[in-house]
């Protein structure tokens, strides 16, 4: 078990070394015009960079922001994405309510919040990548 832990740390080292990108020259040039400190544009990487670029386009692929509520009627239910056949929903029935109504939402017909009756429908999703 200890060797697995140490191997984990070693893998991190190897990844870190490989992560130094090939754009060194371009980054240095844009840094120089700024005063020598790189920007996130120059050097953000990995998930941080992905989220930064998506946010610029107004997208939120990693669900950082809370979901926007639909009207919750039978015709316009709150659509709840899920990678499996069910997902827990927490309904804040009225704004600023501190009691959150939690329930399992199953695939199939839309369900109603047991407290306020708002409609929720599960939308199965494939993981895109």
């Amino acid at each position: 078990m200890a060797s697995r832990l140490l191997r984990g740390a070693g893998a991190l080292a190897a990844q870190a070394l490989r992560a130094r990108g090939p754009n060194g020259a371009a980054a240095v040039r844009s840094m120089a015009s700024r005063g020598g400190v790189p920007s996130d544009d120059d050097q953000a990487t990995g998930l941080e960079r992905e989220i930064m670029l998506a946010a610029r386009k107004g997208l939120d692929p990693y669900n950082i922001l809370p979901p926007k509520g639909a009207s919750g009627t039978k015709e316009d239910p709150n659509l709840v994405p899920s990678v499996t056949n069910k997902r827990i929903v927490g309904c804040i029935c009225e704004e600023d309510n501190s009691t959150v109504i939690w329930f399992w939402l199953h695939k199939g017909e839309a369900q109603r919040c047991p407290s306020c009756g708002a409609y929720y429908k599960l939308v199965p999703h494939q993981l895109a990548h």
């Binding site: 740390a9 020598g36 990995g46 989220i51 990693y62 950082i64």
Partner: protein
């Protein structure tokens, strides 16, 4: 391959929490062996083990954040909460020593001669080196703020200079305080005055050394281009810690050095 659909960081298994716990055991048992039997090997091993744990653990955090991009906005928010909570815990730690000082100094017992400072204690003059120390730390608070603003304005040269100045002032404080320690006419075993004085100022001095080390690490990372003008939480954490150390000194100076003299 399954990827996460959230912005958080699920950290890979790591041996450093275990080595940290083991080093804590070696440090505590090592202190006992040193205090009671003058035996230093356990303590030395513990110091080495804890230093290595800290170096490797924080090196991994830098790799995960700077080199691999795991420190997304929610992750950074969590790190901020963590640092704030840690500093609050340190505030409580010092509160204990200030409580001890005020408990004994506000109502001096017959054992002290009924007054504070106790009979026979010659306190340090608060208008001499302790006042200089106050100026040094206040100035270092200014220089680190300068360094931060320079960093945010992408000014590499000024940011590095201001950070270096902060480190120099921190080292100067430590040097001055060490020379003051050799100048006192009293020791830690000189009654309640000695105990409260050296416990409070001693732990403060240790925190100055820790803070200076943190700043020096930031300097090295800045030289290696780790910080960007908008993402440099390690630097901000070091700055918060440094301001905390400065504020504790101000309380020490006013309570122990000035009012208590």
């Amino acid at each position: 391959m399954t990827h996460q659909t959230h912005a958080y960081h699920m950290v890979n298994p790591s041996p450093w929490p275990l080595t940290g716990a083991l080093s804590a055991f070696l440090l505590t048992s090592g202190l006992i062996m040193w205090f009671h039997f003058y035996y230093t090997l356990l303590l030395a091993t513990g110091l080495l083990a804890s230093a290595m744990t800290m170096f490797q653990w924080w090196r991994d955090v830098v790799r995960e954040g700077t080199y691999q991009g795991h420190h997304t906005p929610p992750v950074q928010k969590g790190l901020r909460y963590g640092m704030v909570l840690f500093i609050i815990s340190e505030i409580f730690f010092f509160a204990g020593f200030f409580w001890a000082f005020y408990h004994s100094s506000l109502a001096p017992t017959p054992q002290t001669g009924g007054h504070w400072p106790p009979t026979g204690i010659l306190p340090l003059n608060p208008m001499e080196v302790p006042l200089l120390n106050t100026a040094v730390l206040l100035a270092s608070g200014v220089t680190i703020t300068w360094a931060h603003h320079s960093l945010m304005e992408a000014n590499r040269k000024e940011s590095a200079q201001a950070l270096l100045m902060t480190i120099a002032l921190g080292a100067y404080f430590t040097y001055l305080q060490m020379s003051e320690y050799s100048e006192t006419s009293f020791t830690i075993s000189d009654g309640i005055y000695g105990s409260t004085f050296f416990m409070a100022t001693g732990f403060h001095g240790l925190h100055v050394i820790i803070g200076t080390t943190f700043l020096a690490t930031c300097y090295i990372r800045q030289q290696m281009y780790h910080f960007t003008s908008s993402h440099h939480f390690g630097f901000e954490a070091a700055a918060w810690y440094w301001h905390f150390v400065d504020v504790v000194w101000l309380f020490l100076y006013i309570s122990i050095y000035w009012w208590g003299s």
